[in-house]
């Protein structure tokens, strides 16, 4: 058996607590890795890839059909791709985290699992899937001859995605608390969150916009994430609205606020459900 006998008297030990936490997280990871919504692995997971791919193809066809000149770079598919994946990582994370904190979820568990364990693991699984899908997309573009499709600084791209993920996680936890108090929020938030697509530089370069619009857009942290991500691909991408501190700060504030909100309302909500 793993693990020696624990002290049956005395104080709790942090190393044992850490090991227990690790055991629980890995157990949840492997249990929930092979299914999502009860569907099988590939279908369930990569269903989340369909939405961004649809957006990219529709916009690419529109841009080509309307004869619009390219917003930036030499490939419309690459430009849209570098926008759609970070933005959808935010949208989907902020929506998906809700499922781990659903109604009655605190009841269907062994006592050693806590609802926040599910949030962490489901969020992490979604992050992994998103990174794999994005990597496949850019690799495919490279195969079709788009030289810039492999980021010159892959770590920078990963860092940008991680920062956006942090923001999505924080906003997602806040959402799940709101939705448990006001159930209609489950319908409203997915709609609201998709407006992020238009405010985060999916099909334009924020630096090239008129100053009157620009001054408002800089308050959207996701825009900073998109620009950050694009800098990993385009060496000379304009640095306007690319504050890493602002994105990370927003993410940490959202996460802290979300966790506090969840902790403060847990008793009340679990008793109510």
């Amino acid at each position: 058996m793993a693990g020696a006998a624990l002290p049956s008297s005395g104080d709790r030990r942090w190393d044992i607590a850490l090991r227990n936490q690790w055991n629980v997280l890995t157990a949840i990871f492997f249990r929930d890795a092979d299914s999502r919504h009860g569907r099988r692995f590939l279908l369930g997971y990569f269903a989340s890839a369909i939405e961004p791919l649809m957006i990219v193809s529709v916009l690419a066809i529109l841009f080509t059909a309307l004869g619009r000149h390219l917003p930036y770079g030499e490939s419309i598919l690459l430009f849209l791709g570098t926008g759609v994946f970070p933005i959808y990582l935010f949208i989907h994370t902020s929506v998906r985290v809700r499922q781990a904190l659903g109604i009655g979820k605190h009841r269907i568990r062994f006592p050693i699992e806590q609802p926040l364990d599910l949030v962490v693991i489901h969020g992490f699984q979604h992050f992994l899937t998103s990174v794999v899908v994005a990597a496949l997309y850019f690799f495919t573009l490279r195969l079709f001859g788009v030289d810039d499709a492999i980021p010159h600084d892959p770590l920078l791209a990963l860092a940008a995605l991680s920062a956006i993920f942090l923001l999505g996680l924080g906003v997602g936890i806040i959402n799940s608390v709101i939705a448990r108090i006001v159930p209609i929020w489950d319908l409203i938030w997915p709609a609201i969150s998709r407006t992020t697509l238009h405010f985060s530089g999916l099909y334009y370069v924020a630096a090239f916009l008129p100053p009157t619009i620009r001054t408002w857009l800089v308050y959207n942290p996701v825009l900073h994430g998109t620009n950050w991500f694009r800098q990993a691909f385009y060496v000379f991408y304009p640095t306007f609205a690319t504050s890493k501190a602002f994105l990370l700060g927003s993410g940490l504030v959202a996460l802290t606020f979300g966790l506090l909100l969840e902790a403060a309302t847990r008793q009340y909500l679990e008793a109510r459900e």
Binding site: M1, A2, G3, A5, L6, P7, S8, S9, G10, D11, R12, R19, N20, N23, V24, T26, A27, I28, F30, R31, S35, G38, R107, I108, R109, F110, P111, I112, E113, R266, Q267, E270, A271
Partner: protein
């Protein structure tokens, strides 16, 4: 050792189960949790297990405490018995294969462990929960009234569970919630008495039983408890309390 500090808890129906309970429960003893009918014994087990968080106060566990044997809320019914057993073993830091083989061999379920658990009968799921609890290496095992399932299609499971109880509690602790002093004497050697929404620990089981019996006599004198029987048979004590 499980330490309760100022623990208060109120059920959803407004009944107060604990009010400022302070007690230390040893993790290496066989403890009988004695309390009258509907006093909240099952709720206290849920609190000790960590299924329910107390409204006020802190419960410190310096021991690996089991889920309440028979508890089925941890199972994902869309997944197979095998998947659920392996998950529980991983989560509780045990060897998944060892635990699975033990449960499979003792239950004799065979291929039934490879179908989604919603296809198993409630009895079988309950039995699985008991066997899984015994298979996992806990420091304190929690039981509600009985140390083995009351209904089973597995031959001799009750005797097997009593034997496993004996072996597990040779090196680990246990807490058996009951109002049946016969059960307490058979499976425990010290007592935790729940009365007046407080918990008191007694090193000597006989002392605990004496206190508990006095509490029952006092209950008989209270007008709204008249006619309540003492030492009721095992079976109808099953789920008389709201968790």
């Amino acid at each position: 050792m499980i330490r309760l500090r100022g623990v208060s808890h109120i059920l959803r129906n407004g009944r107060e189960v604990l009010s400022g309970a302070d007690v230390e429960i040893p993790g290496d003893r066989r403890v009988a949790l004695l309390g009258r009918q509907s006093a909240g014994k099952s709720t206290i087990l849920s609190l000790l297990a960590g299924n329910v968080a107390p409204l006020r106060g802190v419960i410190e566990r310096a021991a690996r405490v089991s889920y309440v044997a028979g508890y089925q809320g941890g199972f994902r019914v869309t997944q197979t018995g095998r998947q659920n057993i392996i998950f529980a073993a991983r989560a509780y830091g045990a060897d998944p294969l060892e635990v699975f083989e033990f449960v499979r061999d003792v239950s004799g379920f065979g291929s039934d462990l490879d179908v989604p658990m919603r296809q198993l009968s409630v009895t079988n799921r309950n039995n699985l929960s008991y066997l899984l609890a015994y298979a996992l290496p806990f420091d304190v095992y929690l039981f509600d009234n009985v140390v083995g399932p009351m209904l089973s299609e597995i031959p001799n499971l009750a005797e097997t569970c009593q034997e496993m109880y004996r072996r597990r509690t040779a090196t680990a602790g246990s807490i058996v919630a009951t109002r049946n002093t016969y059960v307490a004497q058979k499976f425990c050697d010290c007592g935790l008495v729940l009365r007046d929404r407080r918990l008191e620990f007694y090193d000597d089981l006989r002392e605990a039983i004496a206190v508990f019996n006095n509490d029952l006599l006092a209950a008989d004198d209270e007008p709204d408890n008249r006619g309540q029987r003492r030492g009721a048979p095992l079976a109808d004590d099953a789920d008389d309390e709201e968790a």
